[in-house]
């Protein structure tokens, strides 16, 4: 045993007996990487990180933590953008990174059973040769893991037609905070009982640790047609999106970028995109005849809405390049700003033009720039608030602007998050989007799974609540007191 291991806490030593010495992390410099996820400006150092290699090890890790009364923070690849994997003080981070086997492929029935550490894109790679793929495609799909996707109900550009992670998870094996292992759902449909799998997906690690997921696979569509259209401003681009949807077209994806995002993507990729106010990138997929028809119709609508130029990729390589420009847009913004915040608000699609103008106005008031690159088809905005942390007060102004943008989304009838999750970062906004009763109801669901409240505390909910604790005694309604109920 190395010297570091001997100086470990009793809990760390017990954990090491379960997962092995080298799968327990206690050295401060090694813990650094676990202080945050993809959201880097909120950090908490965990006491301990363990990397179990099997379901049995996860069960033992959970039992040891429970005995010690220590909270657990499940962690996938650490690419989350809402602080969903941010530790709380004194917590044990459970990294599922070692559990990365594809356990079973059943292409007769279209599913794959995988461990949580499997990388999203690797699922597709495993079945692509046979003409299948896994639909959810977050921009981070080459590095993010399935366990994290399940926790956050991750989305991607093609959600518009194909839905989110929750549409594609058929079953999960979960370790609960009491150390029990439960199977939720199944590859066969409609098993009797409550749809607990629905509660699990998107529960941000608060219900249990997913140790296996059975994922629905899809056959690659016969044809995909892509076009890139430029517009004088986001007004015309927004009108084109509305027109395409109103024509009864369901694109596989329809993405919008504003001027700043286009500039950034050009700088990062060398694409020869023009300097315009807005651009759309649309995919239509399905059978060839349907797609040709739909794509031609969408191009007509884009022109009629004021498109400056329409580009059709000559081949798959050029198509991939167009998508690269879109998918790297977050990182590309780093080319035009030293720092930026990513927001993930959702608004009704019909409000896109108005909300973008409002964001521009708010940004002007704050003296900051906002780049917009987002999933226009489902109104999922990704405002990137640009700032320079070296300028005193600018980061605080950026955070405040981000908050105002989220409030604008809520006021517009939308949501504070479309795919990144609430995490630690946006928990305080939940009380603005939901009532106390809404949140209390969700907390009861949590209590059914994790009565000890050991799983990923501090996420999603603005106010922690103990299970079994009821918010005040039952008070009869005045009508009951007045005798209404007596008649019953």
């Amino acid at each position: 045993m190395d010297p570091a291991a001997t100086s470990r806490s009793p809990l760390a030593r017990r954990m090491a007996t379960v997962v092995g010495d080298r799968n327990v992390v206690t050295e401060p410099e090694e813990l650094l990487v676990y202080e945050c996820d993809g959201l880097v400006h909120g950090r908490t150092r965990p006491d301990l990180v363990v990397l179990p290699g099997s379901t049995a090890e996860v069960v033992e890790v959970v039992r040891l933590a429970r005995e010690a009364g220590v909270p657990l923070v499940p962690r996938g690849a650490g690419t989350g953008l809402s602080g969903g994997a941010r530790p709380v003080p004194g917590s044990v981070v459970v990294s599922l990174a070692r559990m990365r086997r594809i356990l079973e492929l059943d292409l007769e029935n279209g599913w794959a059973r995988v461990e949580p550490g499997v990388i999203n894109l690797d699922v597709t790679k495993a079945v692509a040769g046979a003409g299948w793929y896994y639909a959810p495609d977050p921009s981070s799909q080459s590095v993010c893991s399935i366990g994290g996707n399940v926790a956050e109900n991750s989305g991607g550009a093609h959600c518009l037609k194909y839905g989110f992670t929750t549409h594609h998870v058929l079953a999960a094996r979960v370790v609960l905070s009491d150390g029990s292992v439960v199977d939720l759902g199944g590859p066969a449909a409609d098993a009797p009982g409550y749809d607990l799998l629905a509660a699990l997906v998107g529960s941000e690690g608060m219900l249990g640790i997913t140790v296996e997921a059975t994922l629905r696979l899809l056959r690659r569509p016969e044809a995909t047609r892509t076009f890139f259209a430029t517009f004088p401003s986001t007004d015309e681009a927004g009108a084109a999106v509305s027109g395409i949807i109103a024509a009864g077209i369901l694109p596989a994806a329809i993405e919008m970028m504003d001027r700043l995002a286009i500039v950034a993507a050009k700088a990062a990729t060398g694409l020869d995109w023009p300097d315009v106010g807005a651009a759309l990138l649309m995919d239509a997929d399905g059978t060839r005849a349907e797609v040709e028809h739909v794509s031609a119709r969408a191009v007509e609508i884009a022109r009629a809405s004021g498109a400056l130029e329409i580009r059709l990729p000559r081949d798959e390589a050029e198509r991939q390049l167009m998508w690269k420009g879109r998918k790297c847009a977050f990182a590309a913004v780093g080319r035009i700003s030293p720092s930026y915040l990513v927001e993930d608000g959702v608004i009704p699609r019909s409000e896109i033009a108005r909300v973008l103008r409002e964001i521009e106005r708010l940004a002007g008031e704050a003296g900051l720039r906002v780049a917009n690159v987002f999933h226009a088809g489902d109104g999922n905005l990704h405002p990137l608030v640009l700032y320079d942390a070296r300028n005193p007060g600018e980061e605080a102004r950026a955070v405040a602007l981000g908050a105002e943008i989220l409030r604008l989304c809520i006021r517009s009838g939308g949501s504070i998050t479309g795919e990144h999750g609430v995490g630690a970062e946006k928990a305080s906004f939940m009380a603005e989007q939901f009532s106390a009763d809404d949140l209390e109801t969700m907390q009861r669901v949590r209590c059914a799974f994790d009565g000890a409240a050991l799983m990923n505390p501090g996420k999603v909910f603005p106010t922690p609540r103990l299970c079994g604790e009821r918010p005040g005694p039952y008070r009869p309604h005045p009508a009951e007191v007045a005798g209404l109920a007596e008649r019953w």
């Binding site: 059943d106 759902g185 590859p187 409550y194 009864g248 005849a289 109801t441 019953w488």
Partner: protein
């Protein structure tokens, strides 16, 4: 503002259990008030929509009151350009579709009896129709829900935008919960455009193996049907494959399906009234008789499932089996003739279907069969969490107690 209770009537009974009282709130506030009053008196209550799926489940262990949703029947908000609709629970699917159609939209759910089935009941019962092959189950179309809890608390989950991951997914969790976790009072749905064209190819005389083969051939050819169902055709099946979309796409898919060797022999292409009649025939078939069984299995096990269900079909009068080859679901309907034989055949089918989470649930059955077979089959594997969930949301077990799987 309150809805006065009235004495219970025979039409308010659930699986033969008649409540003393019935109440018909006309607003969400009235529904919440009624639930608070019921809570104060610790009365057991069950929710009634159009009554089309009342055959599901076990009779409630006790039932003091029925809460009918038929006066909660308004469209609260329809945003055509956002393709969403918020609707009260008691509106029938047919009325909702008529509201949406002038806007070129529909809710992509097609369970039988749309003029009776209410949206709240469809959500609670996880009702489905053939288009589930394309659009998924109810859970994939529900984006928001307003629930009145057992204690009268009004809580919302989800929202009015399709893409939304804020908070736990209460809307999906409530799908199929059969009113045992709360009253689904309002639902927000995602909508789809009405298709420009539709056509159905019907291929007769297929054994279950051939149904599976023809379905696979169509999918491997990258055709994208919206519905695939195999209806009884003598001892064999007539496979109906429906395409919807824009005209050129539908025509192309029909031609390509007809060209597949696996789809050879006596095919018909149905459009318009003929097509509607075929699918209406499907609806009538699954609702015929007094026994209905929904079986689920892996799609690759289609022929084995059909074989496992044959003895049960034979035990019923006019037993008819409908297969959904892409979903891995079969619906068996018929008239109860020999309860003991039917119960034994159901249990045998359950054993055969059990691998990979397969199941066979009684969706309708007379008391004589219920007395011999649990409508749900074996308790669910995660029953303990389900019990705790029920305890969290309905701590006094007053919402249709005992009606749901596992005695919940």
């Amino acid at each position: 503002m309150s809805a006065a209770p009235r004495p219970g009537a025979p039409e308010d009974a659930i699986l033969g259990v008649a409540p003393r009282l019935a109440i018909e709130p006309a607003t969400l506030e009235e529904a919440a008030e009624a639930m608070r009053a019921l809570a104060a008196d610790r009365l057991a209550v069950a929710f009634l929509g159009g009554g089309t799926d009342l055959g599901l489940g076990t009779p409630p262990a006790r039932l003091d009151a029925a809460l009918r949703t038929r006066r909660l029947a308004r469209v609260r908000e329809h945003a055509p350009s956002d393709q969403i609709v918020a609707v009260e629970a008691g509106m029938t699917l047919g009325a909702l579709q008529r509201h949406l159609a002038p806007h070129g939209q529909r809710l992509a759910l097609d369970p039988p009896l749309p003029e009776e089935a209410t949206v709240g009941g469809i959500v609670a019962a996880n009702a489905f129709g053939p288009r589930r092959a394309r659009f998924g189950p109810v859970r994939d179309l529900v984006i928001g829900v307003t629930v009145v809890r057992a204690d009268g608390t009004v809580a919302r989950g989800g929202g009015k935008v399709v893409k939304n991951v804020a908070g736990f997914d209460l809307p999906r969790l409530l799908c199929g919960s059969l009113g045992t976790l709360g009253l689904v009072a309002e639902v927000v749905f995602r909508l789809h455009p009405l298709p420009e064209a539709s056509a159905t190819v019907a291929i007769p005389g297929l054994a279950p193996e051939a149904v599976r083969a023809a379905t696979l051939a169509a999918l491997e050819a990258r055709l994208e049907p919206v519905a695939v169902a195999a209806l009884p055709d003598g001892e064999r099946f007539r496979l109906a494959v429906r395409f919807e979309g824009f005209g050129p796409g539908v025509r192309d898919q029909v031609e390509r399906l007809l060209a597949l060797p696996a789809a050879a022999g006596g095919r018909e292409v149905l459009e318009g009234k003929d097509e509607a009649a075929l699918w209406a025939g499907h609806d009538a078939l699954v609702r015929a008789g007094d026994v209905r069984v929904k079986a689920a299995f892996l799609p690759s096990g289609l022929a084995a499932a059909a074989a496992a269900l044959r003895p049960l079909a034979a035990a019923l009068g006019r037993g008819a089996l409908v297969l959904h080859p892409t979903l891995g679901i079969a619906v068996l309907s018929g008239a109860l003739a020999e309860p003991a034989r039917a119960a034994a055949a159901l249990e045998a089918a359950r054993v055969a279907l059990r691998p990979r989470n397969g199941s066979a649930v009684l969706a309708a059955a007379p008391p004589a069969l219920r007395a011999l077979a649990d409508p749900w089959g074996a308790p669910p594997p995660a029953l303990e969490i389900m019990r705790r969930l029920k305890g969290e949301l309905d701590p006094d077990a007053r919402l249709a107690p005992g009606r749901f799987a596992g005695g919940l």
